[in-house]
């Protein structure tokens, strides 16, 4: 998987002090925004909310004054901020950190592009935390440590939680009769 670090030259002028200038931020944004939005859409099942939280995540990243030349570290930090925002959103909405309703139809997103795909339907049947874990592990390629840190879990318990989430997702995929295309090396 291509890392952000390999796409943004470390010697970028804006990163000389480890803090981004406008040009460095735009480069970083171009590389990470779509991925972050995809993560938020799948976690929240709501595009406009995903866009709002995405902007807030970048704002918080900029305000944090994070000093690092490691773009992968910066990206991990950004996803951690986004994960916290998702958690805050659900906490504000409900007293407990519960999962959103089971079906996309219940949320009123049945006409949304991002909720129409089969995999989206399978994902929406899972708890938010399960979706986040699966996405971070298998799409973003985050380490157990990074995922645990982002979700506020113990690294030791993450392995079994991820395993259970994967099992539930596999069940949902089978239930819905989804047959993902097998990749062939190009």
């Amino acid at each position: 998987m291509a890392t952000v670090a390999s796409a943004v030259p470390a010697a970028h002028a804006g990163l000389a002090s480890g803090v981004m200038d406008e040009a460095a931020f735009q480069a970083f944004y171009t590389l990470t925004a779509r991925r972050l939005r995809a993560y938020l859409i799948r976690s929240l099942a709501d595009r406009s909310l995903a866009d709002d939280l995405m902007q807030e995540a970048y704002l918080r990243l900029l305000r944090s004054g994070l000093k690092t030349d490691d773009e992968d570290h910066r990206k991990a930090y950004l996803f951690r901020i986004a994960t916290n925002l998702i958690r805050d959103h659900f906490r504000r909405r409900r007293p407990e950190y519960e999962m959103p309703p089971d079906l996309p139809g219940d949320l009123g997103f049945q006409n949304n592009f991002e909720a129409r795909t089969d995999v989206a339907r399978a994902m929406n049947g899972l708890a938010t935390r399960d979706r986040q874990m699966l996405w971070l592990a298998y799409v973003e390629g985050s380490s157990h440590q990074e995922i645990a840190k982002a979700l506020g879990l113990k690294t030791a318990s993450l392995k079994s939680m991820l395993s259970r989430a994967r099992h539930r997702m596999a069940d949902r995929i089978r239930e819905l009769g989804i047959r993902p295309l097998e990749r062939s090396e190009s």
């Binding site: 998987m1 406008e22 931020f25 735009q26 944004y29 171009t30 925004a33 779509r34 939005r37 995809a38 859409i41 799948r42 595009r47 866009d51 995405m54 902007q55 970048y58 704002l59 900029l62 305000r63 592009f113 991002e114 795909t117 995999v119 989206a120 399978a122 994902m123 699966l134 996405w135 592990a137 298998y138 799409v139 157990h144 392995k159 991820l162 395993s163 994967r166 099992h167 997702m169 596999a170 995929i173 989804i178 993902p180 295309l181 097998e182 990749r183 062939s184 090396e185 190009s186």
Partner: protein
């Protein structure tokens, strides 16, 4: 992640299609790896579907400008916080001085009465009320300024 030593290879293969014969045989016989392959393939397909979505992203320039504005606001708040505290301290000092010297001032005035000619005594309340009014007004204005600074910094 499923506890199987082939899992990393299975994840990579499910993502980019780099299956070897041995790995495929393993995934067919290992329940954990079979599940991993299924989930990763589905998620990869989903990512590709989302990538086709060409809805424009929010403008990064606006995010940048908002962050600068917020930063400036925070710096201004930091700077005015010191001033606000100095103002509060001044108010407390003025109040303390007024309380401490209040009885003495009264005694001084009564003492002055004995020294002053009778005609001047008639103007005494006026003489006292002037400085008191100035002191009181200063106190109120400073308190309002302190409150105003605090509110504008927060908003």
């Amino acid at each position: 992640m499923s506890g199987c030593r082939y899992e990393t290879d299975v994840v990579t293969a499910a993502r980019d299609g780099s299956w070897t014969e041995a790995l495929r045989d393993h995934a067919a016989s290992c329940l954990g790896c079979a599940e991993t392959a299924l989930v990763v393939a589905a998620l990869t397909q989903d990512v590709e579907a989302l990538a086709l979505d060409d809805t424009p992203l929010p403008d990064p320039k606006i995010i940048w400008i908002r962050s600068r504005l917020k930063l400036r606001q925070e710096r201004s708040f930091q700077a005015t916080r010191v001033i606000t505290w100095v103002q509060r301290l001044t108010i407390v000092c003025v109040a303390a001085v007024a309380i401490f010297f209040g009885p003495g001032l009264r005694e001084l005035i009564s003492g002055l009465r004995t020294l002053l000619p009778t005609a001047a005594l008639a103007d005494l309340p006026l003489l006292i009320s002037g400085p008191s009014a100035v002191l009181g007004l200063t106190f109120v204005v400073m308190a309002l300024m302190a409150l105003w600074n605090e509110r504008s910094a927060v908003s």
